[in-house]
């Protein structure tokens, strides 16, 4: 009689719909690795498809968002979606074999079933950028999260004005998506690539990414038009130099977007591993405008 009534917080197992549902916390889509393309010695492009057709079609994301990829028993990690949002749950992830989970992924065969949860975080506001120039600046692996907004822009190329991609890598052998560079150029995109050190076959420029950016700013006679948006992603050291140059060239802070990387264990604003101050990179980020970045300590 005095036994207090037990409250079952998850009475309907298996239903996940909204972010506010308790069942969504541990939910993951079953997805199959349909193909694997080696891009360089350490990076591979994985095509991953959500198995259930209905769920695949209803999987919507904004370019710049990420998913948590889980291999049961091995680990779970956050990865930026690098494919077009119009392909829904047929996503591409470019992954460098660098840790426990990614080294294992490097060895799995096609057909492996993985868990995908998400999409999480914020995206790049590509719709707001319509009618403007878009400047994409990527260093190293930074090209991976930029590929999703790039696809979104390419699919509606006529709505945007001048599009530049400035892409820097350490070596020519570390350049990603080389097979698509020609295709991007055909869409009237100025693709400039620079490497820190060239090799015997390299005919392009050698140096730092800021050198190309300088030239781009010179083209606009030192002042980027206020109708320009910049998207920047790269190693931590790159952000400060590149963003300061953009600000000096007259670009307002809220038109510069960066995608930040942090360690994550949940993707759902719980584990605190991705915190900058107390800002969750997984909820408020990974895409921040530069004004937000300036207001967070230790962000870059």
């Amino acid at each position: 009689m005095n036994k207090l009534e037990f409250v079952d917080v998850m009475p309907s197992q298996g239903k996940f719909m909204r972010k506010t549902d308790l069942t969504s916390f541990e939910y993951s889509y079953q997805a199959e690795i349909t193909s694997v393309y080696p891009l360089t010695a350490t990076e591979k492009l994985y095509q991953i498809r959500i198995i259930d057709t209905g769920l695949r079609q209803s999987f919507n994301f904004q370019p710049g968002q990420f998913v948590m990829l889980e291999l049961p028993g091995i680990g779970e990690g956050p990865f930026s979606i690098s494919s077009s949002p119009t392909r829904h749950g047929d996503i591409e992830l470019c992954i460098r074999a660098v840790g426990n989970l990614t080294h294992f992924l490097d060895r799995v065969p096609r057909g492996t079933v993985v868990g995908i949860s998400g999409p999480f975080g914020t995206g790049f506001p590509v719709e707001k950028m319509e009618g403007s120039d878009v400047l994409l600046i990527a260093g190293g692996l930074g090209i991976v999260p930029l590929r999703a907004p790039l696809f979104a822009v390419l699919e509606n190329r006529s709505r945007y004005k001048r599009i530049d991609i400035i892409y820097g890598a350490r070596k020519p052998s570390e350049l990603l998506f080389t097979y698509q560079h020609q295709m991007w150029r055909q869409f009237d995109i100025n693709l400039d690539i620079i490497v820190d050190e060239g090799d015997a076959d390299w005919t392009g420029p050698v140096g730092r990414i800021t050198e190309i950016l300088e030239k781009r700013i010179e083209v606009s006679s030192g002042n980027l038009s206020r109708k320009t948006f910049a998207i920047v992603c790269g190693p931590p050291v790159m952000f400060k130099f590149v963003c300061n140059m953009l600000i000096d060239a007259g670009l307002p802070m809220q038109k510069i977007f960066v995608s930040l990387e942090r360690r994550m264990h949940c993707g759902r604003g719980k584990c605190c591993r991705c915190n900058i101050g107390a800002t969750y990179t997984c909820l408020s980020g990974p895409v921040f405008d530069y004004w937000e970045v300036m207001n967070m300590k230790e962000a870059i």
Partner: protein, 349 residues
């Protein structure tokens, strides 16, 4: 809000009524070296073990809502595919008999981030919704600074709250089920004398607070003093052991790891509470560590508690229980750190 009073000897009856559920309460765990009695929250099987006169427990109620290790999901692996199973692992109501205001406030703060945000945590929420909490007023210890944090009283998040009036308990009732339970023991409407004694007790307790932290404009000061050399000094003392997070009633950060069963037929995903002071807290794959030195990690901890959480929820994530300072192997306490950041060390010494 409804109030009743009941004579002290009825407390045992109240305990016996609730004893059909799991009852957790403060109990003695022996003596520390300096002759100080140690208390802990634990399952109780006898009213005699309940020690409502406890000072403070080494750990808060956190292990009952956020166990140090918890299985999030398990996998059955077969034919190249797998199936995921989630078990919240809670089946019964727990009665928490005798909880101080700071610890109830700590649960309320955890609710904000773990139950009321996007992606609510079902493991925490499940346990939280199955708690029957009986609060009790405390005797402030020399290291308690809850008054400065505004957590010396609690307004919600419990079922009933007891105040010791000498020969009787003054009880504040917050839920219908608490009301129903109290119907089974003789209680009375508090009269004017009870009101007077209640106010006296509260005032006497307020006079006992000795430790203070100046939290005025703290969010701005933490921003202004972000590059202050005092963080380096504290960083040199900090051992990066994570004990503070271990005993903290509001530290909820964690790490997740996956494990394969020995027979390769299954796997499990386990989370373990973590600490932002541990060296690899913010290290990403590839080896870059966003907070490689102990001073930046300690600073982050204060920054999250007193600046970031304040920004998000308009309150601090610290309840001023002082457990971290008591447990710290290097003797670092919150009042000292905040005073030094404000440049007020001399005044305190």
């Amino acid at each position: 809000m409804l109030f009743r009073v009941f004579v002290k000897k009825e407390l045992e009856t109240l305990y016996e009524i609730l004893a059909v559920n799991h009852v957790v309460g403060p109990t003695s765990r022996g003596m520390a070296k300096r002759g100080k009695e140690l208390f802990a929250f634990d399952y109780l099987y006898d009213f005699q073990d309940l020690r409502l006169d406890f000072t403070t427990t080494t750990h808060s109620l956190k292990p009952f809502v956020l166990p140090f290790q918890e299985t999030l999901s398990s996998f059955i692996i077969e034919d190249g595919s797998w199936e995921k199973h989630v078990d919240l692992n809670i089946y019964k109501q727990h009665v928490f008999f005798g909880v101080h205001a700071c610890d109830i406030n700590a649960l309320n703060k955890l609710d904000k981030v773990l139950s009321e945000q996007a992606y609510p945590d079902p493991f925490y929420t499940g346990k939280r919704r199955n708690m029957f909490i009986i609060g009790i007023d405390c005797h402030p210890q020399p290291f308690c600074f809850c008054r400065s944090m505004g957590t010396d009283t609690v307004l919600h998040g419990f079922d009933m709250y007891l105040t010791d009036l000498g020969d009787s308990y003054f009880v504040e009732i917050q839920s219908a089920r608490a009301w129903d339970i109290l119907q089974q023991i003789p209680t009375a409407e508090p009269d004017e004398e009870d009101h007077r004694r209640f106010v006296e007790t509260v005032e006497a307790r307020n006079r006992e607070f000795s430790c203070q932290v100046d939290t005025s404009d703290l969010t701005k000061i933490l921003d202004l003093e972000f590059q202050s050399p005092v963080w380096e000094e504290w960083g040199k003392q900090c051992l990066s052991c994570g004990t503070c997070a271990n005993v903290c009633p509001t530290c909820y950060c964690y790490g997740v790891s996956e494990h394969v069963d020995l027979d390769l037929q299954g796997a499990s995903k386990i989370r373990q509470l973590y600490s932002c002071n541990l060296i690899d807290f913010a290290e990403v794959a590839g080896g870059h560590n966003f907070r490689p030195d102990s001073s930046s990690r300690l600073k982050y901890r204060y920054y999250h508690k007193h600046r970031g959480f304040q920004e998000a929820f308009e309150e601090s994530l610290c309840v001023g229980c002082g457990r971290c300072g008591q447990a710290c192997l290097a003797g670092i306490t919150v009042p000292d750190v905040i005073a030094s950041v404000r440049g007020q060390e001399e005044e305190n010494e």
